[in-house]
Symmetry: C2
């Protein structure tokens, strides 16, 4: 059987990445083999640099090259609102829409007894401390709209209630650009219950 | 805007890989960030090692850690047959079916005036030399069954004709497990023209 040790090892490493099956891994590995040395070196350097430089922010737990992160340090941001998300990439999604001006708090996942993730394994205590320290008027629970995200939101809501802070949850409803036909029953129920009266200056 | 320099650079490098869009690149980059250092180091090392160790075989032009490659060196293989393929990964596909016992020759692509690939940019001279050196009875042209692969096969056939060697081309026809309904017209034409009489010991 045709077999190149180091190539096989690379294919193996690549299949460990999310969404990369054996076939994609092979295609990627052969591509890397054919790349000029310089180009492969750039990829290697980018991986090494990201692992060296990027740490967690000690306040919000988001990925950052500095501590505190630029968002936690930014005096122009609204420090009275904290948006709680599961993962660092969720912060990226919010920042991209340029709609939110408050701070973040990254839990590091959602409560999931099946996956062995209990509340103690998440960054919940640090969130409570931030709220206890005062100045926070609203906590937006932006965990995923799935079972685990909902359970986490309910758990956090109960903890935050005693701290006299407004707690909100992202709106559920129909996704933009969708087709009613493809909306599942829960989404449609949410959309119906959360319906809003239309006014003159209706925003899309 | 939320922006981490080194993360952005990694995402950028990853999007240069085939089949990796911006979204996949972001997912991969965040995954790499979350990996233990050791695991990311393994990926980096696998890329570096493959680039250091894997070269081209000076006989068949296939990727190999040794020169000549293990296939060209293997005395058990049938040295009178050469299977000509476009890329090194094609050798992998043939070896996997464990059906072929001859040698290979990797062209490094197919003739494509549109992509600026002319016969001079392919490893054609070295193939002719191998045949001229004698001992080769058959050359199997296993270039892709697309326009460029067909053109390359015809080009090679003309060159090889004068060298008094048998030249064959992979059979065209219906793919296994397929449905007649999904066969394109050219494939169906090939399948009809290449039809074979069934015998007692018909092999599937």
């Amino acid at each position: 059987m045709y077999y190149i040790n180091s190539l096989d090892r690379l294919i193996n490493q690549l299949t460990r990445l999310p969404g990369i099956g054996e076939r994609s891994a092979r295609r990627l590995a052969f591509y890397i083999l054919k790349q000029p040395q310089q180009e492969a070196a750039r990829l290697v350097d980018a991986i090494k640099t990201v692992k060296e430089r990027v740490k967690r922010c000690s306040i919000c737990n988001n990925f950052s090259e500095e501590d505190p992160c630029p968002i936690c340090r930014d005096e122009k941001r609204n420090r009275s609102v904290i948006c709680v998300v599961e993962e660092p990439q969720d912060v990226f999604l919010f920042e991209r829409i340029r709609e939110y001006q408050g701070l973040y708090h990254v839990l590091g996942g959602a409560i999931s007894p099946l996956k062995g993730i209990n509340p103690e394994s998440l960054n919940i205590n640090s969130l409570l401390k931030r709220v206890e320290n005062g100045g926070v008027k609203e906590v937006i629970l932006a965990t995923d709209p799935d079972t685990e995200g909902e359970a986490t939101a309910i758990y956090l809501f109960k903890l935050l209630q005693s701290l006299r802070v407004k707690v909100s949850r992202l709106a559920h409803g129909l996704p933009a650009g969708g087709d009613l036909e493809f909306a599942d029953e829960i989404t449609l129920t949410h959309a119906l219950r959360g319906r809003k009266e239309m006014e003159e200056e209706w925003e899309i």
